[in-house]
Structures are given as C-alpha cells and as structure tokens.
C-alpha cells in the first residue's frame, strides 16, 4: 500500500509539473501586449461605462434582451436517460419572457445512437432551441441589443440555416446580436504568434494567453482577417476576474462594437466573473436543476420506474 502511494504521488507530481512548466513558460505581459499590437493581430481598446443618457437612447431603440439555454440529463446508464432542454429569452424593459423547451431520450430515436452521437445531438438541439428563442426575441421584443450567452459561431456550425435566419431578422429589425462567451475555446492568438510563442505540446488557448493580459475595462479587438465565418470576435475583461471573456458580433454590425463594449462594461458587476448581470439573471431563470429533473422524473415516470432506471451511482450513501 505504502509503496503504491509513493509511486502515485510521484506520478501526480509529474502531471502537475507539466501544468506548472506551461505556466512558467508564459510570456511576459508587456512583451505580449507589444507584439500583439506590432503584428497587427489586434488592438487594445479602453471601455467606459455607458452613461445613463446613452442607456436611455438604447431603451428608446427597444432596450436590451438576453437569451440563454440550459440542458440537463437524468437517469441511469446510457441510453436510459431523459434530457430536458430549455431556452429563455427575456426583455429587460418589459420583463416579458419567451421560453422554449424540449425533452427527449436516446430511446426515442429509431436507430441506435452511440453515446457520442447523442451528446452531439444534445449540443445541436440546444443550439436550435436557443437560435429559435433568439429569432422569436427579435420578432417579439424588437430589442436594440440582443445578448446571447455563448458564441454565435456555434449557431453557424450547428444550425446554419437558423443562424442565417436570425442574422437576417436582426439586420432587418436593427437588433444588434452579441454573443458573450464565458469559456473561450479558441486559439487564434497563438496561431498568429506561432514563432514567438513557447513551443508546447498543445498550442496555447486564447484565454491562457490573455489571462491577466487585459486590464479591467479593456477589450482586445482582433484583426478582421483572423476570424472568418462572417463574424468578428474580440476579448474583453469587464471585472476584476483576470480571465477574459469573448464577444462575438456579426461582421455587418461590427461597427457598433464601441457602444456595445461600453454597454457590457456598465452591465457587468466588477467583483463578479465578468459576465453581464442580465445574462446571469436569465441563466438563473432558465437553469434546469437536478431537483427539478428528479421531480419531473418522479412525476412523469412514477417513482417505481424512476427507481428502475436510476443509476446505482446516484444512490451512493456516502
């Protein structure tokens, strides 16, 4: 036992060291900022909290609305699971809400799905729900700004026809679409700065490069040719949290970035995780909790059947 523990500890230390080395190889902050600017990869912009006059003019043009989705799967081992999804659009001025939801299970599909396929389906379906909610929000609320939790790219990837529809509707109605990405998973910067970046087994992610690089209230606007998909992206830090967030906007509406960044800065709690509060509020409303899932399962399935499919894991006593 003891010997094994020692070797385990050693292996763990090795793994941790890999992470640590990666961190230590991080480039100097000032150097990075300089080189990003020099190479024309992006430019740093300062934000100013939007004042009440500007806010009032946004309200005049329709105010802001937000869209967020949530998914939760419950049950036993695949395919004995039920998935519930919701997408909520909420307008800040009127408090009006639009909720779309869907429920399904692998057992509903005619052909057998692999677990990965199912996961893919969940992802795609949520995107569809959210895109539909966003389209409805644009139609119903006609907001000046529609904040969407998550990147806009995924709409384009998962459901390009709905994305086109959403974009067209937004352009027609004069609604600015803004995707707010909490977990950045792109690697644009290191791909541009490949020669100066330290050679690592995995290319550094954007969040990794930008961690602590931006000051609070600063936006890194990426060069237009770095991100093709008809979208423009930039990174921002709106709170004390050093981890940046991403902002997506359609190419056509990119000119509004200046106002949008100030708006988002004004709406983000400075001590928080850097996400506009309005999206947090919607997230809180749309979130499908485990308790809710359990309640639904018990109610619709009956407790005996629920018992039947629930995984043993979930009944662990300790």
């Amino acid at each position: 036992m003891l010997e094994m523990d020692i070797s385990l500890k050693k292996r763990f230390e090795e793994a941790a060291a890999a992470l640590k080395t990666r961190l230590e190889k991080k480039l100097d902050r000032d150097f990075l900022r300089k080189i990003i600017a020099e190479r024309g990869a992006g430019s740093f912009l300062k934000c100013k909290e939007m004042d009440s006059d500007m806010l009032a003019s946004i309200v005049e043009k329709g105010g802001i609305a937000g869209v967020d989705g949530s998914t939760n799967s419950k049950g036993g081992i695949f395919p004995y699971i039920i998935t519930l999804q919701q997408a909520l659009a909420k307008h800040a001025g009127s408090g009006q809400e639009l909720m779309l939801s869907d429920a399904f299970s692998p057992l509903l599909f005619e052909e057998d799905l692999s677990e990965d396929d199912y996961r893919q389906h969940i992802k795609k379906n949520l995107s569809i729900l959210e895109a539909n909610a966003a389209i409805l929000a644009v139609e119903e609320f006609k907001p000046a700004v529609l904040l969407i939790d998550g990147s806009l790219v995924r709409f384009k990837i998962e459901t390009s026809s709905l994305w086109e529809k959403l974009k067209q509707k937004a352009l027609d109605n004069g609604t600015i679409l803004v995707g707010v990405v909490e977990g950045i998973s792109t690697g644009i910067i290191s791909s541009v700065l490949d020669d100066v970046m330290p050679q690592l087994s995995y290319r550094a992610m954007d969040w990794e490069v930008l961690f602590g690089l931006l000051e609070m209230g600063e936006v890194l606007e990426m060069a237009p040719d770095l991100f093709k998909e008809g979208l423009r992206t930039c990174f921002a830090r709106f709170s004390l949290d050093p981890k940046p967030i991403g902002i997506d906007m359609p190419e056509e509406q990119y000119a509004f970035l200046n106002q949008i960044k100030d708006l988002l800065f004004a709406l983000t709690p400075k001590n928080g995780r850097g996400i506009p509060l309005w999206l947090d509020i919607i997230d809180n409303k749309v979130r499908i909790t485990d308790a809710m899932m359990e309640g639904l399962l018990n109610a619709c399935l009956g407790e005996d059947y629920a018992e039947y499919i629930l995984a043993k894991r979930s009944k662990r006593a300790i």
């Binding site: 009440s52 309200v59 800040a92 709406l267 400075k270 928080g272 509060l277």
Partner: protein, 609 residues
Amino acid sequence: MQVAGITTPIEVFVASRERRFRINELLIIDDPNQGPLVGEVVDASSYNRFIPLSVEHAFSDAHVVESLKHLGYSIDEDEINIAKVKLMSETSFPVTTGSPVRLPGFGEVKSFLMRGLREDGLLLGEIKNTEETAKTMDRELKGLFYIYSAGKPKRTENVPFILDLKSFHQYPHIGIFGGSGSGKSFGMRVILEELMKHRIPTVVLDPHYEMDFSASQEGIPEDENFKRHFSRYQIGEHIGVEFLNLSKRDLLSLLSAVSPLSEAMSSAVEVLHRRGDTYLSFSSRLEDLAQALEIGRARIDSALRQGMEPQEMERFKKMKELLENYQNIPLPSVQGISWRLRRLQVSGLFSHDIKPVKEAMLQGKLAVVQGPIWLLQVFSTYLLSNIYRQRRDYKDGELRGQTPGDYFPPFVIATDEAHNFAPKGRDAAPKGIITEIAQEGRKYGVFLVLATQRPTLLDETVTAQLNTKIIFRTVRGSDIATIAEETDIKPEEARRLPYLPSGDAFVSSPLFGRTVAIRVRFPYTASPHTVNPIDEIKNRRLDSDEKLLSLISPHLPIYAASFARAVEDINRRSDEKYEVRTLKEALDALVEKGRLKRQPSPLGDIYIV
C-alpha cells in the same frame, strides 16, 4: 402566495413574489385537503437572490444595478418574500405544501379579531397590519378613532381592537406593562376615557398628578368632552379620612405608611386607640401619656398632693390614670406614634372624608385621587377597603336574600406605579386590599387596572390575577422574562418588546387566545405634563425678558449712574426684587441677546434700545 417548504400542523412558511408580509398579519391558507386554515404571520423576511449577503458573491455593484434600472429592469422585482405563519389552531395533518394562500375577508377572521359588540366594548386602538382585512369590515366599525402616526393624528384604517366590557365578569383585571416613554400612560388614559364613555364608576389613584381630562388633544377634529364625567380630589385638600371611622387596623396602616412602626409602637397603638376616638381625643391621650411618662409617677403624686388650680388638677389626675393604665408603654414609642400622627394631621388627612369620592362613583363618574405617593398609599388603603367593603356588603346581602343595604355600584380601580401599591417581597399598606380584590373582586364586580413599568416588582399573586395584559415597550431583561412567564406571548414577540415603537403594544388576553398586536388610539384628552421642560425654561425666560424690557423702557436710555432710581421704581411697580447689581446683570444679558445696546460714555455705560 403559497405554502412552501416543509410544513407542520402548527407552522408553515408562505412565499410570495409580489406581496411583502407583515408581522401579525392574518392569512388564510386554502389547504385542498383540510379546508381554509387561518394563520398569523410571526416572522417575515425578504430575499433577493441577486443581492446575496455573502461578500464573495458578485453583488455589491450599485452601478450595474443602476444601469439595469435605466434599461428598465429593477432588481427588486426578483425579491422573494417569506413569512413564517403560525396556525390559529393545530391541524390534524401537516398543511399541504403548495396550498394557495390569500388575505382574509373580515368575516372569515372576525372571531380572531373581535369579541363582543362594539357598543359594549372599550375601544382601545387598532389591530396592527389589518388594513386589507378592514376594507371588508362593516361600515360602523371603520375609522372609529385617530391614531398617532408619523408625527400627527390620522384616522385609523385598521380593524379596531375592542375589549369587551361584559367579559370583565369573567376576566376582571387588566395589567399594563411598559417602560417610560413606551406609551403606557397614553394607554392608561385611553382606558380611562373609555370607562368614562361607558359611565363606569372608577377610582384612579394618581401619584403623578396627570389624570386630568379637561384639556383636548390638539389636532383631532372630533371632541369628546369628559369634563362632566370626572372629578379630581386631592388628599387633605378635598378628601380625607374620618378618624372616627378608623379601625385599629386602619390606623396602624396609616401610621406605618408615614414610617414603619416598631413592634412596641404597634402594640401601643393597639392598646391606646379606643372605639369612638376622634383625632382630638386620641392625640391628646398620646400627649398626656407622653408628658406623664416624662414627669414620672412620683412627681405627679407629689404635685397632686400639693393642690393646684382645678383645671390643672384635672389634667394631673388624667395623667395619673393614664400612667396606671399604660405604665408598660415606653416613652419613645408614644413619642414615635405622636409625630407620625401629627404628620398625617398636617397633611390635612383627618380634616376631610371620602364622601365626595363615593358620591362621584354613585354618579358613574371617574374619581381621580391625587396625592404624594406615600400619602396615596395610606389613603388608598383606607379608601379601597372602605368602598370595597361597602360593595361587598351590598352584594353579600343581596345574595343572602336579606334586604340589601345602601346600593353601591360595581367599580374599577386604576393606578399607575402599581408596584408601589402591591410590591413583591415587602409589605405596603394597600397590598392586602389589592390582593384581596385581585382574588375576589370578580365576585363583587370590582375590577383592577394596574399599570407598572416594573412587572417584576409587582406582587406575584396580583400579577397572576391580571387576566388581560397590555404590554408596551419593555427593555429590562428581567421584566421581559416576567412578561414571558405571565402571558402567552410568543418568543418572537418577546424578542420584539425592546423595539416596539411608542404606542404599540401586545395584548395578551384569554378572550382572544393569542397575543394581539395593537396600536393604542390617540387619546381625546391631553395630559397636563406634556410641555417639554426645556421648552418651559425657554418660554419662561422669554417671558421674563419681555417683562424686564417693559419695566425698564420708561428709564431708557439709562446710565449706570441712574440704576439706583430705576431699581426703586421697578421694584415698586412689580413684584420683582432687583438690586443695582442684579439689574445690571439682567440688562447685560439683554444686551447679549441683542434686545438692548450698550455704549461706553464718559459717565459709564449707557443702555439704549
């Protein structure tokens, strides 16, 4: 509104997004299985999940809230209100979670809010937080009186709190507890006003000289005139004790009220006081005996042998006789009794009787008896025993089927500082009679209204008999403990006691079976003591300034040299007693206040307007 969380048959939580709850509010829970249930809010809280208490959370950013507000979203809308509701009666099963909850109509909760008829009750105030329910109330119950709120009187919008007079037969005594400034005196005043309205004969012992009902309260359009319904008597001035009617016990308690009697003194009074004694006969007996004891038997004998004027002879004979009868009484005892008696006499106690009080009561009036507390203690002992006996004799006679004697009505005894009249753990002259009335008064229709700021100091037997308790703000822990012990007040309410606003009170009465939170109505009449002493000083100073100005004005401008003549003139024209020095000081004070000017001149200072 709906029931949330885990429920019990006694207590549930009710949550609402729109409605804020208020403590003591009544709610109706429509339990699908058990029917409508009435409950009372005992604790209320609000929660906003976006504004957590914890510092780690994201929320202290006022700017963001403000920006969102500009965009039309107010964070307050996400508030959740939670009430802890205690059911009026226990249910058989726990309340169904999710049951809808609503506000009651007056009819549904009338039995919890009102007992008896409005005409037969004392209108003490309003039941707090019942505005909504009050809207569905019968018209004749609405807006019956004024409430003092936010600095001015305003007509009540709540359900009235009515103490049924007829219930006194069952629950006869009222206790009023509360610290100074808690509204206790207002509460007492309101009760007395109500008793006057119903023409209930009442004796008020008033050590504070505040029970006058002739001045109307400012700011109330309606006027209740109580002038004809009460009389004030000062002990020694208007009323007193008839010495002839004093029993030995009465006399002992009177004397001991001046200052406690020693064992020897008490037994001396026992033997010296005879039936049919007047003040004169008793006091001269004491004096003669004192003199006799001082002179001594031998000298009296020898004086008698020498022969003297017949009158003188008579006195010496009497002294001899007294000495023979009472030779064992020590001189200091006699002297002690003698000075106590003199003090009572000087207070005027023996020059009057209690007839005026009895007459007032027979007319259904409120008789206010005023005097310093020590004298009040003594006198009340005599007065209360007397009228209580009279009522008891009448009632007992009636019960026994004998031809009843003189009629004497049922009555109420009310006093503030009750712990002085029936203190715990020590003796006081009136304690016996008050305890007796507390225990037996119900039978004879004699009721007590006792107010005190120290319930802990009130005799326990008496406290236990106070069925209805009105509890105002109380700060002392020991008093709160006493109150908690003696009433059905809930721990949540006991915790609120130190923070009750002035005029708010809890009423604990077996009639309601629960504690009712009330706000005492604004009295129609004002206490004579409501002028702020600081204002009094100010006003008085202003008055005296004006007076001096008018007296000095014929002499202005005045040189210091002519002060002597001015002083003479001023003192002659007024009752002031100025001297040159004090006049100069007074004028200098006026200069400081800018009322006069002082200029230096070759002849000394000159004062001009």
